[in-house]
Amino acid sequence: MQGTDKNIIADLKDVNKRDLAFHQLVGTYQERLYWHIRKIVMNHDDADDVLQNTFLKVWRSIDNFREESSLFTWLYRIATNESITFINSKKKKSFMPMNDASEFLMDNLTSDPYFEGDEIQLKLQKAILRLPEKQRIVFNMKYFDDLKYDEMSEILDTSVGALKASYHHAAKKIEEYLKSTD
């Protein structure tokens, strides 16, 4: 993947090869980024919008990518920021308190025609939605995407220690919710 990424980056910075390289980039990362975004915004239509915004931002700022981090980390960071920006704009529009998006996301989850999970999975998603935003993102990245703490640290610009603590608290809260709703 590292070798492919290097080729993609080199081609993206070459104006003559940019279009083809971008097509390759989208093909390589669209699924991983989609699922990451989908777990944050919960609804397919919103995830589709945010994914498009993410790739547009990548297109616009490819010249500013200084290769200090890996391409994958950079893309994940943009996708995470775009998702958070999207939720914040929804919160503003519906006059919700800035720290509470869980109701809006719960509506998103229950009204999404593409949710295919059973009751247990729905319960798990509801438990995840009750977490604070940062803990929710950390939990999803660790539990579902199996990302390493080092990678998460680069993406979220947070220390490994703080991420471990966030994941620990999140898992405990989810466990409590699962027990209380049994």
Binding site: V26, W35, Y114, I174
Partner: protein, 149 residues
């Protein structure tokens, strides 16, 4: 994983399945849709550049016209009118004290003295005029002092 078993036994027993789905062929179509968006983005960027140039065009044209007119007028004046004449024109115009001070500071010594010599000093006074001027501007003591010197 071991850590999860300890802190959240119920959670660790759950299957890690992705509960979300997408419309059919979503990922097959996405790349093509994205390509279209990028094409649109390129057009917007080109239009933006074009619009900025279009907006600036009249202002740039006007500025260029003024510059040309200025050059056409200023350069012949500067070239063909002799320097002395210019100084004379300046001296004969009415200026405030500050303006006059700054003009005089800009002159070199020889220009300054030639200006003084060329000044409108050829006016003649009658004795009566002189007497009236002295009596209205000086008192008797000052006249006495000047005549003593």
């Amino acid at each position: 994983m071991e850590e999860l078993k300890n802190i959240a036994p119920n959670l660790s027993k759950m299957k890690k399945e992705n509960p979300f789905g997408t419309p059919k062929h979503y990922f097959d179509d996405f790349s093509a849709r994205m390509q279209m968006q990028i094409e649109a983005e390129k057009h917007v960027a080109n239009d933006k550049d074009f619009k900025i140039i279009n907006l600036l065009k009249p202002a740039l044209g006007l500025a260029a016209s003024f510059a040309i007119i200025f050059m056409l007028v200023y350069i012949p004046i500067k070239t063909f009118i002799p320097q002395e004449q210019v100084i004379e024109t300046i001296a004969s115009t009415n200026y405030s004290d500050n303006e006059m001070h700054s003009i005089l500071e800009g002159l070199d010594e020889s220009s300054f003295f030639s200006l003084l010599n060329n000044d409108d000093n050829d006016e003649t006074f009658s004795d009566d005029d002189l007497l009236a001027y002295v009596s209205s501007n000086f008192n008797a003591y000052e006249i006495f002092e000047y005549t003593e010197e």
